[in-house]
């Protein structure tokens, strides 16, 4: 009951969609009614396409995201604490942030080809932005006295990073990861749209190019729903992790 109530806005949105399509407020070939999208979804599930392509996508997405969280988080934390790294690496990282990663495909395929590798790299690079910025700013803001405290109890620099800098950077870092989580889904689709044999992006591009918009939206909504579910689970995780805050 509570759950339905709290997701009522989504239901309202769905009703609005159905109404817009049914009332022909927008050309129904561009926006099919949600109910038809639902039917197409059932078909896609039955045919197994959604599951097969989804598995491929989720693999790429989770590897890319994982790398972004570990690599980006580590980089951000280290840049915040080690001056030399900050001075030499930060300019390169900042130069990299604003690049539309899809424009880098010609370069990324140089090393990784058009297979999973280049897509994972793309997701990794894209998701790195919020994680690195969050980790960097969070770590820079950590209370000096806490850092000192740990050091004076015998924590070496590395230990201190893990014991103090990471927890104090956590609120910002976690929010960065939340953004990265959502970005991962967007990047996943856009990287698979360009070239691939399977994946959500492949299905979207493929169904879209045949004009079967019901199917395309079914896939789009599946991606959105997975993103939504991931975000919900992640938020529960955050709550648990930050339980010490009052």
């Amino acid at each position: 009951m509570r759950a339905t109530l709290s997701y009522l806005p989504l239901v309202l949105l769905a009703v609005a969609w159905e109404a817009i399509a049914r009332l022909n407020l927008v050309d129904s070939s561009a926006l099919p009614p949600l109910s038809k999208v639902g039917l197409a979804w059932v078909d896609l599930i039955r045919g197994g396409e959604l599951v097969n392509n989804g598995a491929a996508s989720l693999y790429r997405g989770s590897v890319g995201l994982l790398l972004a969280v570990l690599g980006g988080g580590g980089l951000g934390l280290c840049m915040a604490r080690w001056r030399l790294l900050d001075v030499f690496v930060n300019p390169l990282v900042e130069l990299f942030y604003p690049l539309p990663k899809s424009a880098l495909i010609p370069v990324t395929v140089l090393w990784l080809g058009f297979g999973d590798g280049s897509k994972i790299l793309l997701i990794f690079l894209g998701c790195m932005i919020p994680v690195t910025i969050g980790a960097y700013n969070g770590a820079r803001g950590s209370d000096h006295a806490l850092v000192w405290s740990a050091r004076s109890m015998g924590a070496n620099r590395l230990r201190m990073m893990w014991d103090v800098v990471v927890p104090s950077a956590l609120p910002e870092l976690l929010n960065g990861i939340r953004t990265a989580l959502a970005l991962a889904f967007i990047l996943l689709v856009s990287s698979e749209l360009i070239v691939s044999q399977q994946g959500f992006g492949y299905l979207i591009g493929y169904l879209g190019s045949t004009g079967s918009y019901e199917g395309m939206y079914a896939v789009v909504l599946t991606v959105a729903f997975l993103g939504f579910a991931a975000d919900r689970i992640y938020q529960l995780f955050i709550q648990w992790l930050l339980r010490w805050r009052d």
């Binding site: 927008v26 050309d27 070939s29 561009a30 197409a40 078909d43 896609l44 045919g47 495909i105 010609p106 395929v109 140089l110 080809g113 058009f114 297979g115 749209l193 360009i194 070239v195 691939s196 044999q197 492949y202 591009g205 493929y206 169904l207 879209g208 190019s209 045949t210 004009g211 079967s212 918009y213 019901e214 199917g215």
Partner: protein, 313 residues
């Protein structure tokens, strides 16, 4: 022990239109598949990434259009690329030609009326785009000077025209068959009128690859021919429509035209029309999309497909 079968990756963009996109569905006809080669069709969002992929040895057989072939040779520096077979052609008598349509009760009555208007295209430099620009130029209209070009995906073209966001759209298969479009729009000119018969899309591969794997490629082309023949055979029309339906998630009734005369022309021997191609390439250069022209014969290697066709007989 036998050698590993050769891996051949083939590109496609549009489902149904490109043979690669329906190839695997009739894999059972491919007698050499898994023996001397394996075939792996890969979808690309357009031809430009294919060029990158070929240059990078990530793709063996590209699906280049007449307008992108010069780009691959000149800009990407792949002088060793060779046309090896046909995919489909436009403007062949008795077959369908891509259409350029306007609203029936709209303001555009003749091409000159497009001055100052907005024209949709699928992607700058694509075959359809080049043909359209050529036609407008014949009538004294230059892109960006006399009219605005915007890009939109093919399936969305109809809505854009109906909502009067644009004044001219290219109508390609299967979207030109849309009943609503048929009711409200009509043809202003077609691709045949614009550039005559065209060798629209053809399979292309690099010479070192061809030389190294000649035998396997002939096997592959032989199987491809078998598959094409199956699709073109009127006996199989219903089964083909069923495959199309499964692929595109649309009812089979909509695919009455597929592999018939209402479809693009496909040479039953997969033999490209090099004369048409030469004309297309020259025109692409004249429009400024390519810097220089070249002899298409020097950039094709038809011996493979000839050999494959011979074997089938």
């Amino acid at each position: 022990a036998r050698a590993e079968p050769l891996k051949i990756r083939g590109a496609w963009v549009a489902p149904l239109a490109n043979l690669s996109s329906v190839w695997l569905q009739k894999k059972d006809l491919a007698v050499h598949f898994g023996q001397s080669y394996v075939f792996e069709p890969v979808r690309y969002a357009g031809t430009p990434p294919m060029i990158t992929a070929i240059a990078n040895n990530e793709l063996e057989i590209g699906n280049l259009a007449f307008s992108t072939l010069p780009i691959a040779i000149e800009n990407a520096g792949m002088d060793d690329i060779r046309v090896i077979s046909d995919d489909f052609q436009d403007g062949v008598l008795g077959y369908v030609s891509n259409d350029f349509q306007v609203l029936t009760d709209g303001p555009i009555k003749k091409i000159e009326d497009l001055k100052g208007k907005v024209v949709a295209t699928n992607s700058a430099g694509a075959g359809v785009d080049v043909a359209m620009r050529a036609m407008l130029r014949k009538h004294g209209l230059e892109a960006n000077r006399d009219y605005t070009i915007i890009e939109a995906p093919f399936p969305g073209m109809k809505s854009m025209l109906m909502e009067k966001k644009v004044d001219l759209i290219p109508a390609v298969l299967p979207f030109m068959l849309d009943p609503e479009l048929k009711k409200n729009a009509h043809s202003l000119f077609d691709m045949k009128a614009a550039i005559g018969r065209s060798q629209f899309v053809m399979w292309s591969a690099r010479k070192p690859f061809i030389d190294a794997h000649r035998a396997a490629l002939v096997d592959f082309l032989e199987d491809s021919l078998r598959i094409l023949h199956w699709y073109l055979d009127p006996k199989n029309h219903e089964a083909a429509a069923e495959i199309a339906s499964q692929l595109t998630k649309q009812p089979p009734e909509r695919f009455g035209w597929i592999f018939t005369k209402d479809d693009y022309y496909r040479d039953s021997n997969l033999m490209p029309d090099l004369d048409a191609l030469q004309k297309n390439v020259d025109m692409t250069r004249d429009l400024g999309f390519a810097r220089a022209s070249f002899d298409v014969k020097a950039h094709s290697d038809l011996s493979l497909i000839q050999e494959a066709a011979k074997r089938l007989k």
